[in-house]
Amino acid sequence: MMRSLLLVFAAVAMPAIAQDNFPGVGRTATAAEIAAWDIDVRADFMGLPKGAGSVKTGRQVWEAKCESCHGAFGESGEVFTPIVGGTTKKDIETGRVANLARADYPQRTSLMKLAEVSTLWDYINRAMPWNAPKSLTVEEVYAVTAYILYLGDIVPVDFVMSHKNIAEVQNKLPNRNGLMVWRAMWDAKGRGDVNNVACMADCKQEMKKISTMPDHARDSHGNLAEQSRLIGPTRGVDTTKPIATTPLTGRLVTVAAASAPKAEPPREASNVAHLAKKYNCTACHATASKFVGPSYAEIAKKYAGNASAATNLMNKIKQGGSGVWGAIPMPPNAAIPEAELRQLAEWSLRGGK
């Protein structure tokens, strides 16, 4: 059906000027609109804004806006995959990161994989910092890119990166030759690289290597009895109990609970926890340990005994700000209704409990 529909459109569309096909639908984009949105930077640097930024400036931006998640040296795996590490001077010569071939190498950092410097520039520009994407200036994006490359020993400490020398930086990337387009899984008519045959009887089995979940990981994903339907041919296994060892000799049955479940259990603490998740508070704040922002435990400790803390905190959540806990700004949350603001503030002052 799709095909025939397309043929009809193609037949109508091709000879005519395109926009005349659907009168009144859509309009021509203005130059300013395209400039506002067309931010992508391609591997040949099409789309790269003119400008420059130094490693030195990059360090300042890094410490203010990047370090809390990525670590002082881009090495941290606490929040995201480490950015820096695993590359060598030799890799810069060959353009292949040797550690990628080592099965025993523990991690794959961004710089180990990075084959295009444009990718790094584009991504920082469009998506970083994590809680305030698209807030960096062109100079800051150049500077942070340069600083990351400095941390990877790819550019020197006094380097100033710009649209003029970015191609030279590209030629120093440790893994610039380590990426290949794999058309077998890109082209619609490509063929896979792994083949099986549909044997039907007496098929070859190795049966030697059998991998299973270790018993201690049995409840690693919670109680599976609570993750399956309560009727039907099977039940979820109750992983709070030891593994059954006796074979089935009769029918397993469901023992009905003494009373029907309430539709929505009122549990205030968990409801506020839900709000914290809903309004993305948990993207930066954890219950006990410092993350991007202070933990709820730290907040509770700091304002313990302060009578006006709840009101102040409500304003802080609503308007955002920085300075109290460090340079990382807290974004404003103007959309949270007053009642929920109060719940969140009071809950924070209880240490997220």
Binding site: G26, G192, V255
Partner: protein
Amino acid sequence: MSEYESSKYMLGRIQRAPENFLSPSQIVDVQSGRRDFLRGAFTSALAATGAGAALASASTSPAFKGDPNILTLPEHSKGLGQPVAAVGYGSPSKWEKNLQRRESPGLTRVSGASVSFAPLQGFFGIITPNGLHFERHHQGWWDIDPSQHRFMINGLVKNPKVYTMDDLMRLPSVSRMHFIECGANTAMEWGNVAVPTVQYSHGMLSCCEFTGVPLSVLMEDCGYDKVKGKYLLAEGADGSSMTRTIAMERALDDCIVAYAMNGEMLRPENGYPLRLVVPGIQGVSWVKWLRRIEVGDQPYATKDEVLHYVDLMPDGMLRQYTGIQECKSVITTPSGGQTLLDKGFYNVSGLAWSGRGKIKRVDVSFDGGKNWKTARLESPIQSKCLTRFNIGWNWDGGETVLQSRAIDDTGYVQPKINQLRAVRGTRSIYHNNAIQSWKVAPTGEVANVQVY
């Protein structure tokens, strides 16, 4: 732990029923339909007994009169039920709350850049209920005001255009069913068994009927450059502004700029009000909150085409643009983390799909891959869409391993994990389409294992 997971809200628990465990006086209680017998059974020291168990045993007695669920009319047969529109937008039964999207503990550290898995173990047919569609967000999700959402096409086009949702919804539309699978589905299993249930092993998979404008219609509307316009870039409006390259050939073939799923508008978690549908291709290319498409003459090498969604080979080379989700299948009933109720008959049921076309055949093995039987494929069987398969099985109570193996209409046969590893090693993360094995123990417990 969500409120639904608390044992307080569990609707029942599974028990082994010992044979002949009821005393003569208790059998009389059952026979007489005494209602306090049931209450007594719940609270008595005989914790291992229950109404169902009592019946399972008592029903063989000559004095058995019947099931109290039949003999004693329930409230809902004797009273007045709820009125229409008591719930303006209906929800599943309260008894179905165990089926939830869930995160895999420890997989990611930030829930704004994470994934929730769909509970495949509870699904029927091929359509995923909208509220249980898997989620993968790179920088959190938004519920965007559709009246303010704009979609732009620029680059190598005669006329760069801006469309409102009103514009897009006036254009000719198509509705088609397709699966969406994350490229990293089953990623945790490359090296060894790592997760207990099909929800976590295969749950980055969903299937919907999508409605929207064929991308080819919009390309024509803007007058794309038919000589130089070989690629396009799709870009989202969220913080991550997710970007992915699509080949023009594929864009013109079957891609949809979609605003609806399963008869209603897209859910916010799935890109409301606009997302790209790229049939057969890994989910990361189905850009959500779609704001822009740019036509260009070369691929864009974006973050998720250079640093992620690249497949690491044993020699250290990274494969780029490995978008196609190759033919795959999995048995969902019975599956890991479940317990069979008894020996005897079961309808073994599962899902099969291919990013290259239609499913041609699914075979099921009940002996760990030694012998195979061809399963029944349920209609509809559509291209780049989930296909449901079913096959009958009499379980004799012995230990065995169940597997399914799908074949698509290109003749490609779903591989075994050792065959995948022989070519791609164990560190490539993406595109693990191996045959899944479920071990059934004599206890009735089904477990995730790797056998080949």
